[in-house]
Subunit: 155 residues, 2 copies
């Protein structure tokens, strides 16, 4: 498992032990698995899925609010909204008080898709927790919480 390291002066960095690398790889692997589900079933991209999930959770939001809540860039949201609109999964309503903003809301079809996808998500997570074991799952959540607390407050 441990490859031969380089015989040099300074501290050797073992990539497989380096937290940013491990996190990236884990996130990649775990997300990819779930992503392949909604991609294969619905042809959804990740930004589209996130937008759908956010709207499903909150009911009606502006594009900016979706971005803020799901940490996506303006343009990503914009394109995802466009795409979901074309599927007739959401509709836009111009805010009459502030006519720059539009309120995005799932259509019945969109809501239906959301239900199915949310169920898939729950199942995925349930299975994941089962495989991690009670202990692993607990540690993972705790570790993530610690990380979130860290980067949530600047620096």
């Amino acid at each position: 498992m441990t490859g031969k390291q380089n015989e040099e002066a300074a501290p050797p960095l073992v990539l497989e032990d380096f937290i940013p690398y491990r996190l990236n790889k884990a996130a990649e692997a775990i997300s990819r698995r779930f992503a392949s589900q909604y991609r294969d079933e619905y042809g959804l991209t990740r930004p589209e899925w996130r937008t759908l999930a956010t709207l499903g959770q909150f009911g009606a939001l502006s594009a900016t609010a979706i971005g803020a809540h799901s940490s996506m860039h303006k343009t990503k949201v914009s394109r995802a909204v466009f795409s979901l609109e074309q599927r007739h999964w959401l509709k836009r309503k111009r805010d009459e008080a502030d006519r720059r903003t539009e309120h995005l809301e799932l259509t019945p079809a969109g809501r239906k898709a959301y239900q199915l996808l949310a169920t898939m998500a729950h199942n995925y997570e349930t299975e994941l927790f089962a495989r991690l074991g009670e202990r692993g799952a607990k540690e993972l959540k705790a570790g993530l919480s610690a990380l979130e607390a860290y980067y949530r407050q600047g620096r």
Copy 2:
């Protein structure tokens, strides 16, 4: 903290609690911080940094091996190698037994850069652990290990 949820039939999915989402966001945040260091100091991209780190750790590898070890796509590695070669941080040696493969190895300059970057990486991690606290760090590592054990073996 808990937003108002949608009054619908099925299980509501709370995105901020969903593991794939949390993992992604955490990985993104943590990587970005470190990435900005090597980007600002050396103008390195992430694939370049990973390639450098892998070669620094193992000494001499083929492009394919780098990709396998650091989970990067062929073409990403190919481009990173090209770029590092242009900086004169690595050199290629054609394998005489199998002339398709090339063995990549850091030059003295490359090794020097690697030393500095590895040190930066260690410092970053040390600071991260300090901020997470002993407990948080321990949980994070344990959680990651559980995840790795999960996805390492197929399925």
